[in-house]
Chain length 243, copies 2
């Protein structure tokens, strides 16, 4: 499976090319294509900004036209806002990522066009794209710089293929069993009974349930129940002399 190309059309600052390279590699993209970079290529400002993503810069290909840069691709998205003059379907970054993953999954090649920092993509670039990719953003403050736009597109690409569970419990900490919690509760209750804590008698049952509920709901690990049993034991003994 190929990964999507990131095509920077007439990029101005080498620093932004470097930042884009870093953002790409953070999320597993390596196919960078540059169309007419303003300051030529290689650009000495790019490397430091890439913060170690040199492989992306070293493999970057330079093209004379946008058409040349995307000639081998089957699916091209233009990262911009909706154009009135050139009506095209507009997709979110997430939807573009899903569509590109489907396409690359059966051997096709996809890419995303990003325009120059100030002026953005021209109509001559935009017409070559299948769809417009627009990152949903605060309508009152929607200016994303190019490296930010690249990282969000790359992140969505990675995310659509990522299988990290939404929530993971600590791996080396086994969740307490119900018997562990029961043991801890009994330890608390026993020491508290000795001290006549559960009173008045009419409240005794509800107080015990409230305590037990805290322990059951606490999400404790087995290790943590042992820590708390040590705490109950220490609290129920006279102060020890300091070591």
């Amino acid at each position: 499976m190929t990964t999507p190309a990131i095509i920077m059309v007439r990029p101005q600052l080498g620093e932004n090319i470097g930042k884009a390279a870093r953002a790409m590699l953070n999320f597993g993209l390596t196919d960078m294509r540059l169309v007419e970079p303003r300051d030529g290529w290689p650009n000495p400002m790019a490397g430091p900004a890439a913060s170690g993503a040199d492989i992306v810069l070293e493999q970057a290909q330079v093209f004379a036209t946008t058409g040349d840069a995307i000639a081998d691709l089957q699916h091209v998205y233009a990262a911009t806002i909706r154009s009135r003059e050139l009506p095209k379907p507009v997709v979110t970054a997430e939807e573009a990522a899903k569509l590109m993953r489907a396409a690359t999954g059966h051997g096709e090649r996809a890419g995303v066009l990003f325009g120059p920092e100030r002026s953005g993509l021209t109509n001559d670039d935009l017409v070559l794209a299948d769809k417009v990719l627009t990152v949903p953003v605060n309508p009152q403050f929607g200016s994303l710089n190019i490296a930010q736009a690249v990282i969000l597109v790359a992140y969505e690409w990675f995310r659509t293929g990522d299988e990290t569970p939404a929530m993971q419990m600590p791996a080396d900490q086994e969740t307490a069993s119900k018997a562990d919690i029961e043991g801890l509760y009994r330890h608390f209750a026993e020491e508290l009974e000795k001290r006549n804590y559960f009173r008045p008698p009419a409240r005794r049952a509800v107080m015990k349930l409230a305590l037990r509920n805290i322990l059951e709901n606490g999400g404790l690990s087995e290790q943590e129940t042992r820590t708390l049993r040590g705490v109950v034991k220490a609290l129920s003994q006279p102060p020890r002399t300091k070591d």
Copy 2:
């Protein structure tokens, strides 16, 4: 509904505070909290990097300790990697965003801790969090800078509340009706029949179906069918003299 706080613990560079402010406002977050910023506050490097998100910097609150900064919050996530020493549930940025939106939706307050650029959060900071928030990233190149981490967390927050349709068709371009497509197809077929294009006779039906299929699948707007009818008409006439 409140929006989550972004808590930068002992941030070093004013520029990164500015970039974080911009990233926050891009995705609708405005509650920035700074714990012991290294170079004091305000920091003259922050404003230019915020690129217009000055409101976030102006409203930023400074605290002496992490505990003070989060005292009013009910749900705190630590943006870091899993800690072996302090076992906590680990959630993706997306899951954290969903959980924070649920919490803020019923009036509770949430926030995300980000550590200093080089050293990250200490155990004394981390222990105060409910959960660890880890952005899924390329395991071979996982270094996200702080502004990138903030933008991804802020983006996920925005995304979980965003109702932008995954794909939108051009608003002012009505999709062609089946009658529009039929008319266009008939126009093509009529002019092509005159020119004896559909041959040999055994292939005539399949050729007409193939042409029609292109037109039906083309996703044309009503305007585009009219454009193409003009094209068919022009092609089927002798060349005109130039205007």
